[in-house]
């Protein structure tokens, strides 16, 4: 019948059909989701199988669980609730784990490869969809099993949250034992979770202001070992170090340029007040950055290396300022929220500024969104200090006072989760989070 119709009529017929189709399609119910939750993701990390003591006594699953829960983003299933402990994906009864409330399941094993080498394999499974999301293998010496476990955590974190994990990174901090005059200062490098701590410098006189080089190979710091402040740079793996600034007066607060060729330092001649200088590590050439009678210190490069944030009392109390590196640049105040803002640190992506801010009678860690200028206080201590961003920007490590001791703490940048790292009897202060290892 339709063949008899003129072409135009056939067109109208087609158009009419289309006009009616949406009416039929509306049988589908439309739902709009405008919010979600920041609940931790439920995950089961099944104890890893280990053949012949290949795991070197390290409970890989426990390390992973501690990492993930410590991020505040994951909630791990209690081992006591597990009815089976598969170590391979094909042995996982997905429905069982899903019924137990898990979105994800991690199974794995540590196997000896011979020659002192071990392999850590695991599978990350989505219990909701049944998909396998990852099955990486990390190999190394038996001593590196713990590091491999952190790498497992990094993979899981990134696959589920979309952010690179920073569990297999390191931190440095200063530890102080004893009371004056018999004090012992140590410069310590440890895993990001505080484990594997080792001392790379020890002194009876203060050690201060450690700073990681952008490649994570070197630490710059201030040492009073010569009875006055001096700035050193030290290769972490070898212990090789050299004095880079031992000028008269103050030598303080070193910070690396993003290219690793320069150090931003605070220098104050015996007669003058401290100002910021740029020290070229290759040529030893010194360039003055700030002028004036005010105290300018704690400088740090912006993420693009084109400007510097620093603390200055030029307006009275300490506040954060920013100054360009071009000659004749004028500082511009950045912090306004409180009468006291100091110790600026820039997030790895350059969008946020962490600082110590006065909050009533307390000093706390705040983060300012650089684009909007809005500030948010993240910590809840009385005397919190020395914020430092994790290389993925998700957390900030800082020091705080607890029980009369200075301890290390971490807080997520959204303020949702915080925890203390295990503390020794010593005071631990000035933590700095290392960049990603390249």
């Amino acid at each position: 019948m339709i063949k008899e119709l003129p072409l135009r009529a056939r067109w109208y017929a087609v158009l009419l059909c289309f006009a009616v189709l949406p009416g039929l399609a509306s049988a589908q119910l439309k739902i709009e989701i405008t919010s979600g939750v920041t609940d931790p993701v439920p995950v089961a990390i099944v104890p890893f199988a280990s053949t012949g003591g290949a795991d070197n006594g390290v409970d890989v699953a426990e390390v992973i669980q501690s990492d993930l829960e410590g991020s505040g983003r994951f909630k791990a299933m209690a081992r006591s609730a597990m009815t089976s402990t598969p170590s391979r994906a094909q042995d996982v009864q997905m429905a069982t784990w899903k019924a137990a409330g898990n979105d994800y399941v991690v199974v794995g094993r540590v196997t000896a490869l011979g020659g002192g080498q071990v392999a850590v394999d695991f599978e990350l499974l989505n219990a909701l969809t049944g998909q396998q999301l990852a099955n990486p293998r990390f190999t190394g010496t038996a001593a590196a099993v713990r590091d491999a476990a952190h790498r497992c955590s990094d993979v899981i974190y990134e696959k589920i949250l979309g952010i690179r994990g920073a569990f297999a990174t390191r931190i440095a901090y200063v530890s102080v034992e004893g009371s004056p005059p018999a004090q012992r200062y140590q410069l310590v490098v440890a895993d990001a979770d505080g484990a594997n701590a080792r001392v790379i410098l020890e002194s009876h006189l203060p050690i201060m202001s450690p700073a990681w080089s952008p490649d994570g190979q070197w630490l710059a710091y201030v040492s009073f070992e010569n009875k006055r402040s001096s700035i050193y740079v030290q290769q972490v793996s070898t212990g090789t170090r050299r004095l880079v600034s031992g000028r008269a007066g103050i030598n303080g607060a070193p910070a690396w340029s993003p290219d690793g060729h320069k150090l931003l330092v605070t220098l104050g001649g015996s007669a003058g007040t401290p100002n910021l200088y740029v020290l070229d590590l290759g040529t030893q050439q010194l360039t003055r950055l700030t002028e004036g009678p005010s105290i300018d210190t704690e400088g740090v490069y912006a993420a693009d290396g084109q400007s510097v944030y620093f603390t200055s009392d030029r307006s009275g109390g300490p506040q954060i300022y920013r100054i360009g590196l071009e000659p004749g640049a004028k500082p511009r105040r950045v912090s306004f929220e409180s009468a006291y803002n100091a110790r600026p640190r820039v997030s790895p992506d350059g969008t946020k500024l962490a600082m110590v801010t006065q909050d009533g009678a307390n000093y706390r860690i705040a983060v300012q969104d650089l684009a909007s200028g809005t500030e948010r206080i993240l910590s809840h201590g009385r005397l919190d200090a020395s914020p430092s961003f994790a290389p993925n920007g998700a957390m900030i490590i800082f020091s705080g006072i607890e029980g009369g001791h200075s301890i290390l703490q971490r807080v997520s940048v959204d303020g949702q989760t915080s925890q203390r790292l295990r503390a020794d009897s010593a005071d631990v202060r000035e933590p700095v989070w290392a960049p990603f290892a390249h």
Partner: protein, 288 residues
């Protein structure tokens, strides 16, 4: 199952019937020639024969070509022979005869010439007649053609008038059917709205709340994110299939959204079981 298919079937039938009526009605107008009797047209029905008759009445038939006029032959007869005396002279007779013969010959020749001339004249006359007849025929043909043209023009005018009226009527009808369509769409929308105001919207809100509680937003799920998910549920609310549509988020966001649909399973049931919809189109559009 039957409860769920009944409204769907009814809806399909209703739509189908509507489309059928519209399409059929529309094509009725489009089918040439227009059935004039079916239209409300203020026009006289004019047939071809009536037109011809009217034409004949007002215009005399074209003149028939006149038969060619036959001209009388203009051929002169040879003069009768002159009688001669027998004795007088045989020679004279002979001479006479010869003379006569000559004369006869001459006359004959003359006659032949005259005949030829006459023939030429006749032919000329015939040609002239022919031309006249042809001219007359042509004139008649021209007249006829002119008449035909006039007739055609008149017919065309009448036809155009009829067609214009038909087109106007068809247009009016089309507009009317478009209005009908719009009215039925509006009615459908009002029905939808009525439903949405009732149990349907309550159910949708319950599903929304459940999925929002189940969506663990990864840090990269910023405002500006927009992802669609086709979720299939079975009666009882169990989510049996989830298909990600367009999504401007990263892999973690995509995964969290699919996970949310499964985590939300089983979805709440509608208070009125007949409202149950198997397919949900879930749009994730965080506002903060």
């Amino acid at each position: 199952m039957g409860e769920r298919w009944a409204p769907i079937g009814l809806s399909v039938l209703l739509h189908g019937a509507l489309v059928g009526v519209l399409v059929y009605g529309y094509f009725q107008f489009r089918r040439p020639p227009p059935p004039l009797h079916a239209l409300a047209i203020d026009a006289t029905v004019v047939s071809q024969s009536a037109l011809d008759a009217a034409h004949r009445a007002t215009n005399p038939p074209p003149p028939q070509p006149a038969p060619p006029a036959v001209a009388p032959p203009a051929v002169e007869q040879p003069p009768p022979p002159v009688p001669t005396t027998h004795q007088a002279a045989a020679q004279a007779e002979a001479a006479q005869a010869e003379k006569a013969a000559k004369a006869a010959a001459a006359a004959q020749a003359e006659a032949v010439q005259e005949q030829a001339a006459a023939k030429r004249v006749a032919e000329r006359q015939r040609a002239a007649d022919e031309a006249a007849r042809e001219a007359a025929q042509e004139k008649a043909a021209q007249a006829k053609a002119k008449a035909a043209q006039e007739l055609a023009a008149r017919k065309a005018a009448v036809l155009a008038q009829v067609q214009a009226k038909a087109a106007a009527a068809a247009k009016a009808q089309a507009a009317a059917s478009q209005a009908d369509l719009q009215r039925s769409i509006n009615a459908e929308e009002r029905l939808d709205a009525a439903r949405a105001n009732g149990a349907m919207s309550t159910w949708a809100a319950q599903i929304q709340a459940r999925i929002q509680r189940a969506w663990i937003r990864p840090p990269s799920a910023h405002a500006g994110l927009e992802c669609t998910l086709d979720v299939t549920q079975v009666p009882g609310g169990d989510v049996v299939n989830v298909k990600l549509g367009s999504c401007n988020g990263d892999d973690a966001v995509k995964q969290s959204i699919v996970d949310a649909a499964y985590r939300a399973s089983p979805l709440p049931a509608p208070s009125d079981p007949s409202l149950f919809e198997r397919n949900l189109e879930v749009t994730f559009r965080p506002t903060d």
